[in-house]
């Protein structure tokens, strides 16, 4: 496996269109954070260091004295836990890099660069720059748009950006459709996973329905095609 500058720049370019659609969320977080009592600098710092939209929004509920640090950590772990699954799925390629590069690439792991890089890696692409560059693009947009919301929220007024952008969902759905088309064995695991995610949505805490669904999808994939 390689990690080249060329691949990184390609990854950045490829995720420019998708990044545009996280601007409303970043801006909304900046506004919400300032409303919750953070300074604009603090809000921007949170986006730069945490880089997980759902966990950051949820954490705002905990940022009043006295801060329940353990609950805060657990909430971030829970809402960010699907990264564990994605990181495991990428391990086949990521673990062939030297450790320092491995931990650098994974630092910007996110839904969109995972979805963008995975099909190419499965097709034999050997440059993890795609994943890193995509992540850097998303991170930069996330931090910059948070800053815009935090410092300019008064000017921007009420932004109704809390519904997940349909563009992002279309991007994810198209990626899965492409994966299933090139490997039809994935159809059953994917459909079962979708069913489980929906059925357990009202029962499980936010985010855990996705973990459960992914684990079941993985298990079915083994069960259907193992010896």
């Amino acid at each position: 496996m390689r990690l080249t500058l060329h691949g990184t720049l390609l990854g950045m370019r490829r995720l420019i269109p998708v990044s545009l659609f996280i601007i409303p969320f970043g801006t909304a977080f900046g506004i919400a954070a300032v409303e919750a009592g953070l300074s604009p600098l603090q809000a921007t710092l949170a986006s730069a260091l945490v880089f997980t939209a759902t966990a950051q929004f949820a954490a705002l509920e905990f940022l009043s004295e006295p801060v329940a640090f353990i609950s805060l950590a657990l909430v971030v772990l829970a809402l960010s836990s699907r990264h564990i699954v994605m990181s495991a799925a990428l391990s086949t390629w990521v673990n062939r890099l030297p450790k320092s590069k491995r931990f650098l690439v994974l630092a910007v792991l996110s839904d969109a660069n995972f979805a963008d890089a995975l099909p190419d890696l499965q097709n034999g692409q050997d440059d993890l720059g795609r994943l890193l560059g995509g992540g850097v693009m998303l991170w930069t947009t996330w931090v910059a748009s948070t800053a815009v919301g935090a410092w300019g929220g008064d000017v921007l007024g009420d932004t109704d950006a809390f519904g997940f952008s349909v563009v992002m969902v279309c991007f994810f759905a198209a990626t899965v459709a492409g994966q299933v088309r090139s490997n039809t064995k994935l159809l059953v695991p994917v459909l079962v996973a979708m069913g489980i995610a929906v059925l357990t949505l009202p029962i499980l805490p936010t985010g855990w329905n996705i973990i459960l669904a992914a684990l079941v999808g993985g298990t079915i994939s083994v069960w259907c095609h193992g010896e």
Binding site: V50, S91, D111, L118, V166, F171, T175, G218
Partner: protein, 100 residues
């Protein structure tokens, strides 16, 4: 409203927790011997996690979004281009919004 030092501690804890989830899967897998079964598991896992995300988001959304996703999937299967799929999904949303 929290003091600056409390905020810094809180944000460091959040950053560590988020980073831990990003490296945990790869670290865990580096300790497991990979076999055909683990590869099949990871293959199913990687497609399922995105699919589950889509299903979960759609379940909390409306029919308009579901139709856009349906169109995006059809266009993806026909053209194999993610960009065309997204544009078709957007066009679908714009069309429905225009009709209402």
């Amino acid at each position: 409203m929290v003091s600056n030092s409390t905020f810094l501690l809180a944000v460091l804890i959040m950053a560590l927790a988020a980073y831990a989830t990003r490296i945990a899967g790869a670290v865990l897998m580096s300790r497991v011997r990979t076999t055909r079964s683990t590869n099949l598991f990871l293959e199913g896992l990687s497609a399922s996690v995105i699919a589950a995300l889509v299903a979960s988001l759609l379940a909390q959304s409306d029919l308009k979004d579901a139709m856009a996703v349906f169109v995006a999937i059809v266009v993806m299967l026909a053209t194999r281009s993610v960009i065309w799929a997204i544009l078709a999904g957007m066009a679908c949303t714009a069309l429905i919004s225009g009709l209402n």
